[in-house]
């Protein structure tokens, strides 16, 4: 556990020392506040409901997460620091979990940034707190699974850009799973359950649906395990 914390501490520190993450945060805040302005201020009458701006936030995650996860593993390979990590007493599982933990920390920060908007809304009327917090939980779960996918993409290549693009493509596939197959009913019945944004709708309605939570958690576990396997495999090259 100490080693996991050591690695996630190092990763978080690096997040705040590299310009890429500031860039990602800047894009995220700029775009989401712009969308908030369009949806809440210029669109009249102003409806006091967090869910109205939630879809914007989810869309922003699709762009920001690959940028935030791309360096997690790629950069280690490129700098040769994987030799330090893989020859240390820490196992690959500990290394990957440490990195994943750090990415969850960053996700929390993104969510906190986003809470500014409901705070502004609450100045103008009453906000339904239950749907707000359940929506935030839903976004966290979805973001956590997306971070795992990004982490996996990062372990595939030692070039950050390749990792970012691979991560984006993977996320896009999960994102569009529902709408891609809407023409064919039997196919969509198979594919639709894997759609990332569709699973969040129950939570935003104030209902915690077991399968939805399990879907996000198992997706995250699957991709963390895959990342561990990809890195472990390099020892056998």
């Amino acid at each position: 556990m100490n080693r996991i914390l050591a690695i996630s501490g190092k990763e978080l520190r690096l997040y705040f020392l590299t310009p890429t993450s500031y860039f990602a945060f800047a894009i995220y805040i700029l775009m989401s506040s712009f969308m908030f302005y369009v949806d809440f201020v210029t669109y009249q009458p102003s409806i006091i409901d967090y869910r109205l701006i939630l879809s914007d936030m989810l869309f922003m995650l699709l762009i920001v997460i690959p940028i935030l996860t791309m360096r997690l593993v790629s950069e280690e390979f490129r700098q040769g620091t994987d030799e330090l990590l893989l020859t240390s007493p820490a196992s690959v599982t500990e290394v990957v979990l440490g990195k994943y933990l750090a990415s969850l920390g960053v996700l929390m920060m993104l969510l906190v940034c986003n809470l500014v908007y409901p705070a502004v809304m609450s100045l103008f009327g009453n906000l339904n707190m239950l749907t707000l917090w359940l929506s935030v939980l839903g976004v966290f779960l979805m973001g956590a699974s997306m971070m795992a996918i990004g982490l996996f993409a990062s372990s595939l290549s030692q070039h950050q850009m390749v990792s970012a693009v691979a991560g984006f493509v993977l996320l896009l596939l999960f994102w569009l799973a529902g709408s891609m197959t809407s023409q064919n009913e039997t196919l969509s019945a198979w594919i639709e359950p894997f759609s990332l944004p569709d699973r969040i709708s129950n939570l935003t309605k104030g209902v915690i649906n077991g399968p939805d939570v399990i879907f996000y958690v198992s997706l995250a576990v699957l991709f963390v395990v895959l990342s561990i396997q990809v890195i472990e495999r390099k020892r056998w090259r």
């Binding site: 080693r3 190092k10 690096l14 030799e83 020859t87 240390s88």
Partner: protein, 422 residues
């Protein structure tokens, strides 16, 4: 301490290492030599657990690097060829991270980091980011990273590459210091480094271990000739005739070099290598040695004739030879004498020249340097196979030469083997 048992690693490209087998005792400093791509880094990566071997077992203190990875790895400190540094972290935070990662107890971490900083001369740079360190300091930080958890075994992959001479000296003295408490395996392709640091040398070529022994021992083991450089004072013609007659009778190759000693030094050593190669090739092809000697003698004579004028010229310019003429020595001749049979002929030579009243100004035994050994072992496979055969012949040739010396016949392997047949 470290046991590498029949370890192989196969890559897709067909490179890799085959059946590497060696062990290291506690407190040893072992140099790992080999040309680029021979498999040094692969072997070191397998020892440190970065790569798993395709076959074979590696144990550190009896712990398998593969099966008891965590325990085994905590006993190893590893400095890869490229120091594994995070350019964005500061020196302090980097070392703290490594200390945590390597499981240094929490209350000792601060102390250990401070110890590393002062020990490796990183004082005043704790807050500097790694990116802005110079190459030498990066290397030191890399070394600090490898020893922060006080490992039993230290594996260093080319620790002095890319450093300037003063930094190299510093790092070397550090390694020597570390060798007192740790077992060190270091790879390099700087040969003097091995001589300066190591108790033992492993030479690897094309993925196979080709030599294992102490640096000075290796030279002797590979030696299949006896060579001395000689400087004799006196008249040129007399020396030539005296030496030439004796050399021919003893079957010794005499190569008479001329010119000022400083300039003459390099050609002599290079010729020494040439000579040995000529010997070995002659031995392997079993050509009649007698012919070779006489051929050489002729060629030497002819080259001398053309060079006499230049000697005289250089001697008149050379302050050392002026000093010599003050002590009433009219001139001097340098010669390289090579016996293919390892017979020590120095006493004989001294008596010969003393009788002829020719003073020996300098007599130096030519040793096969580590460079020569390295080149011999790592040159193309056909040549090294030939070398192996001559090495294998060596004890036999020793016996023969004893017989040859007593009977005062030539030392040619052909003639000797003929004698053996009798």
């Amino acid at each position: 301490m470290l046991e590498v048992k029949q370890v192989s690693k196969k890559y897709d490209g067909g490179r890799g290492v085959q059946k590497i087998d060696f062990s290291m005792q506690r407190g040893e400093i072992v140099g790992f030599l080999g040309p680029n791509g021979a498999g040094k880094t692969t072997t070191m990566r397998m020892i440190t657990g970065y790569l798993y071997p395709t076959e074979g077992i590696i144990t550190v203190d009896g712990l398998s690097v593969h099966d008891e990875a965590r325990k085994a790895r905590s006993k190893i400190g590893y400095l890869p060829e490229m120091p594994p540094l995070y350019p964005d972290l500061t020196v302090d935070s980097y070392l703290k991270f490594v200390a945590k990662l390597r499981g240094v107890p929490a209350r000792e971490q601060k102390l250990r980091v401070a110890e590393m900083v002062s020990r490796l001369g990183l004082n005043g740079r704790e807050r500097q980011s790694v990116r802005h360190l110079s190459k030498g300091y990066k290397q030191r930080l890399g070394l600090a990273q490898a020893i922060i958890h006080k490992p039993d075994l230290l594996v260093l992959d080319e620790p002095t590459s890319g450093l300037d001479p003063s930094q190299i000296i510093e790092i070397r003295s550090l390694i020597r210091e570390l060798g007192e408490n740790h077992t060190v395996l270091l790879s390099t392709h700087i040969l003097q480094e091995v001589g300066a640091l190591c108790d033992r040398v492993l030479i690897i070529n094309r993925g196979e271990l080709v030599m294992d022994g102490a640096p000075d021992e290796i030279g002797a083991r590979m030696e299949n000739r006896f060579a001395v450089t000689l400087e004799v004072g006196g008249e040129r013609e007399r020396i030539e005739t005296v030496l030439g007659r004796w050399a021919e009778a003893r079957g010794i190759t005499a190569e008479i070099r001329t010119g000022p000693p400083e300039a003459g030094e390099n050609p002599v050593t290079s010729l020494a290598i040439d000579g040995s190669e000529a010997n070995s090739s002659a031995a392997s092809t079993a050509a009649p040695d007698q012919d070779r000697v006489s051929e050489k003698g002729e060629s030497i004579m002819s080259s001398d004739n053309t060079k006499i004028s230049t000697i005289e010229k250089t001697h008149s310019e050379n302050p050392e030879s002026l000093a010599l003429s003050n002590t009433q020595i009219s001139g001097s001749v340098r010669a390289l004498l090579t016996a293919g049979d390892q017979q020590d002929f120095r006493v004989e030579l001294f008596r010969l020249l003393a009788e002829a009243d020719l003073p020996i100004l300098e007599l130096h035994k030519e040793n096969l340097t580590l460079e020569d050994v390295f080149l011999k072992l790592t040159s193309d496979p056909a040549a090294s196979a030939a070398e192996d055969s001559t090495v294998a012949d060596k004890p036999v040739s020793l016996n023969r030469s004893d017989g040859a010396a007593s009977s005062e016949t030539t030392d040619s392997p052909d003639a000797n083997s003929g004698g053996e047949r009798e």
